[in-house]
């Protein structure tokens, strides 16, 4: 399964590092990444592959959520299919 990780919040040092650290520990591969900073709001979207992941989706989600709370940002992970369903004909 592929999923989309979104990170939104006030920009700070080391955000990509901290998110990537969790993904790497969970054996989740980052396939694509893009980010913008608009008026100090950091927005990052990552496309990740979970096929070799060593943990349950819910576990990964909880860890990303906990990181988000720790660094004061919103971090979500969602199945990629929902975006394709909603935005492609």
């Amino acid at each position: 399964m592929r999923a989309v990780v979104t990170v939104i919040g006030k920009d700070k040092i080391g955000v990509i590092y901290r998110v990537s650290e969790i993904l790497s520990q969970s054996k989740v591969n980052i396939e694509d990444i893009s980010q913008t900073i608009l008026q100090d709001v950091f927005t990052m979207v990552m496309l990740v592959d979970l096929s070799k992941s060593n943990c349950q989706f819910s576990e990964l989600k909880d860890r990303l959520d906990a990181l988000g709370k720790e660094i004061g940002m919103t971090i979500r992970i969602q199945n990629e299919d929902i975006f394709n369903a909603m935005h492609t004909i």
């Binding site: 979104t6 913008t36 989600k61 975006f83 369903a85």
Partner: protein
């Protein structure tokens, strides 16, 4: 990968605009639970429901977590109970409602619909027993919802039953008067009821349906309203186009959820009901969409036209997005469940008569409207007849979910909390309709029903 802006749009819809999947409803046929012995029949019903829906809540929650979109309700609809209980010699079917209630509690769904009778052309003995059992059934259970279909475009309106239903609605309220007359909020009186409706309180599993099926109902008034806010100077046809595109996206989300849950439960996917279903939460209101179009207060002049456009555009966008559109599919205008409607009712901007006009152009009917507790039974029946006539003549589903607020009058409110919200008691035109209602008989089917 979907585009960056598309991903962020979806995230915003969930975060800020209350995008959710309103319900996943499993339809379960109980036709194989029929038995002359009521205990045997009830055991089979309990076993079939608890077995069939064992993993419904778990799988729906899992998918909601994976896609990051909440699935608010998990529900069950069953075969109209009059068809099942009719094989027994019981004179009261409330024990069957209690069986449904226990099964619903066991599998963790919040409502189970199908304590129902379909009587547009006439009632069987079982239909009559079921209807008479409704007040006790709804007062003694927590999760069970009831419905009665009293008319259709093909059959006309069963006025004997319309008369009876005025009394039954009142009794439902009386028996639950210590709990905000909540019984009446769980009873829907339909014309042209559909057999694949996933929304409560009117859901039942029609006999034309498969043994088990998974339906889904989407929502999204908040998303539509925000889309309109960004286009303050658009013409009406431009607004229609915006609503269509938004409805497309919402519907696709629902279609994805429905097909995925069905696949994981290994049952067929049924229909997607693309209704705009409001909640009492701020930013999740159909009334506020109408006001966003430029009507100062929902219920004011222009409301019906605005709603007609909204309803049509939602359908057009949704039909493009899914080949399985069914159920009620339109905009819902329940008073107590819509923050903007509650406000309009409190301030006297909307009346029952205007709501009735609005039901001509949207789904579904006079919904979650509190009326004075001393409203005569015959007046309730006459309101039901009016609403049914709109459905019958316009070839559409209409319904009444009226709540006679026992012990309360205009100016008071009934408060349920949660998705059911609160309803200001609205004034009713008390012109006497008893002679009309007591004529009984049938209103014949309209001329345009003869299409064969």
């Amino acid at each position: 990968m979907a585009l960056f802006k598309d991903i962020m749009e979806t995230v915003r819809m969930i975060d800020k605009e209350n995008l959710d999947i309103r319900t996943t409803t499993m339809g379960i046929s109980l036709l194989d639970c029929i038995d002359h012995d009521p205990h045997k029949s009830q055991t089979r019903i309990y076993d079939k429901i608890t077995h069939s829906a064992e993993h419904l809540v778990e799988e729906a929650d899992k998918i909601a977590s994976e896609i990051g979109i909440p699935i608010v309700n998990k529900r069950i609809s069953v075969t109209p109970m009059a068809l099942i209980a009719g094989a027994t010699d019981l004179k009261n079917y409330a024990p069957f409602a209690e069986t449904l209630d226990r099964a619903a509690a066991e599998v963790g769904v919040n409502y189970i619909g199908g304590f129902s009778a379909l009587v547009p052309k006439g009632a069987t003995k079982a239909d009559n027993i079921l209807i008479q059992s409704i007040p006790e059934a709804l007062a003694s259970t927590e999760h069970v919802c009831a419905s009665v279909n009293i008319g259709s475009t093909k059959a006309g309106i069963n006025m004997d039953c319309v008369k009876l239903m005025g009394h039954i609605v009142k009794q439902c309220a009386e028996l639950t008067k210590d709990n905000e007359s909540v019984g009446a909020s769980k009873l829907v009186v339909f014309c042209n009821a559909v057999e694949d409706n996933p929304f409560m309180a009117g859901a039942f599993h029609g006999v034309g349906q498969p043994d088990k099926v998974l339906h889904v109902g989407v929502s999204g008034p908040g998303v539509v309203k925000v889309a309109l806010e960004k286009n303050q100077h658009a013409t009406m046809d431009e607004l229609a186009e915006i609503i269509k595109k938004t409805a497309f996206k919402i519907t696709r989300a629902g279609q994805f959820v429905g097909t995925t849950v069905a696949k994981r439960l290994n049952i067929p996917f049924g229909i997607l009901d693309l209704s705009l279903a409001p909640t009492p939460a701020i930013g999740d209101s159909v009334a506020r969409i109408i006001e966003e179009m430029g009507i100062q207060h929902c219920g004011g002049p222009g409301t019906t036209a605005a709603l007609a456009m909204l309803n049509d555009a939602v359908k057009k966008g949704g039909i493009m997005a899914s080949t399985s559109v069914g159920g009620l599919s339109g905009a819902f205008i329940p008073v107590s469940e819509d923050e903007g409607m509650i406000s309009a009712a409190r301030n006297g901007h909307i009346t029952i008569e205007k709501l009735e006009a609005m039901t001509c152009v949207c789904s579904v009917g006079l919904d979650m409207i509190a009326i004075p507790g001393d409203t005569p039974d015959d007046t309730i029946s006459a309101i039901i007849a009016d609403e049914a006539a709109i459905g019958m003549v316009n070839n559409k589903t209409t319904a009444c979910r009226l709540i006679p607020a026992i012990g309360k009058t205009v100016g008071d409110e009934v408060t349920y909390g949660g998705l059911f919200g609160s309803a200001p008691v609205m004034p009713v035109n008390l012109s006497d309709a008893s002679v009309f209602v007591n004529r009984g008989g049938k209103i014949p089917a309209p001329i345009h029903s003869f299409k064969n």
